[in-house]
Amino acid sequence: MTALWITFAVNCIFVTALMLLMPYISRPNVFFGVHVAPGFRRTPEARLILRQYRLGVLAITAVLFVAFALFPQKSWPAALPILLVVQLVSSATFFVRANRQARAYFAPQSGLREADLRGDDGLPAFLWFAVVPYLILGAVAFYLHQHWDAIPARFPVHWDANWNPNGWSAKSFRGVYGPVFFGSGLITLILGLGIVTFFGSRRSNTRRSVLAIILATSFFLALVFSTVGLLPLHRPHIWITFALALVFAAVLIFWSIRKVAEPDSETEITPDSFWYAAGSIYCNPGDPAIFVQKRIGYGYTLNFGNRWSWVFMIGFIVAIIALVTLVARTTH
């Protein structure tokens, strides 16, 4: 049960920290997803909005900790995901509230737009490094093939919150090589996402940075799925993967904060009236961009007003479901 407590506490604190950081992972002239005048963040009005938001997020965290402690221990495994969803939804509600308050201080944007007349540019050369994650997974597959005889007939692939195995896989082609294929498929999908983002957004340095993040993510996924792929033969402690994921997420968040805080950080001009739901959902049928720069966080988000965005999103979801379905049958 201690493990459940730790899992709950770590996840809950991580979400709280992330929600508290959210207002800072924006360019200086964007406040809770609203375009504001430079220096607005330092005004008493902005500080009041920020203080109310922080108090709301912290109050929710405190309430959830008390609620979790009050639940009978038997129901903790079920309560854990529910409470985390409640935390996310209620914190997001506070964010939406802050966005509505900030709209009163909206500063009109310039209508100036610029286009570079150099020809259509190609993908950056560093994308060739995308071969490496496939090579890592290929090496794991080769290692499994070489040690096929040492693989037991049945091996654990899933554990509960107390680290007791609760899912097994059989020694079959799909059972053994499934994670490696799944990892390769997932990497292909996210690299495809990066390439579509590159060509479907306005030209800026952010495109290259985002492609670099996606490349880094493909390396991370290759490491995770190599670890999972080696489960038939080795038992790396699950904490390693968990810690790796936390460190990767923390580095990404820290890097995003630094990137958006850069004084010469480019701000894409997108009209405020088309940013729905807390300045995070963009829907502008008059904008041909499929992807536009996020107002909260670093990177890109879909323009839901473009029909190709929907085609792309549905295609991506279908591909993920197909991949999961293909591998799900491997566990027994």
Partner: protein
């Protein structure tokens, strides 16, 4: 193409976006910052960067093709033509330009710009845009 020329438009302006694109590109052609044989980015790319509809840029490219500045071929990028020195404009066209200039000068005067300054700017621009 020397350096990397850019075009800039103002979506809040009363001048239609396609007109602004035509004007901006024409200035670059006349200044020689985009040379004959250079390719222009695709309609899709310019539209995406400027955040305007594809048809807006398409219309601007068609207008420039009509004026003889670019060659448009299906499936290929627009290429700048060697337009040579245009023949002297007919009197009617000169009158049209005079009328437009008159309106423009009046607008500048009503904004508080002195006549001498307007004359100086026009002279300097005409010299800058000499082929």
């Amino acid at each position: 193409m020397s350096a990397t020329p850019k075009i800039r438009i103002d979506l809040n302006s009363s001048i239609p976006a396609y007109r602004q694109i035509v004007d901006a590109l024409r200035v670059l052609f006349v200044e020689g910052r985009i040379l004959p044989g250079d390719s222009l980015p695709s309609v899709r790319r310019i539209a995406l960067d400027l955040g305007v509809h594809f048809n807006t840029v398409g219309e601007a490219y068609r207008q420039l093709a009509l004026e003889g500045w670019i060659d448009l071929q299906q499936g290929k990028s627009a290429v700048v033509r060697d337009r040579g020195v245009p023949p002297p404009a007919p009197v009617e066209q000169v009158k049209q330009f005079r009328s437009r200039l008159r309106a423009f000068v009046a607008e500048a005067r009503s904004s508080g710009i002195a006549s001498a300054r307007i004359a100086e700017e026009l002279k300097s621009l005409a010299q800058e845009l000499l082929p």
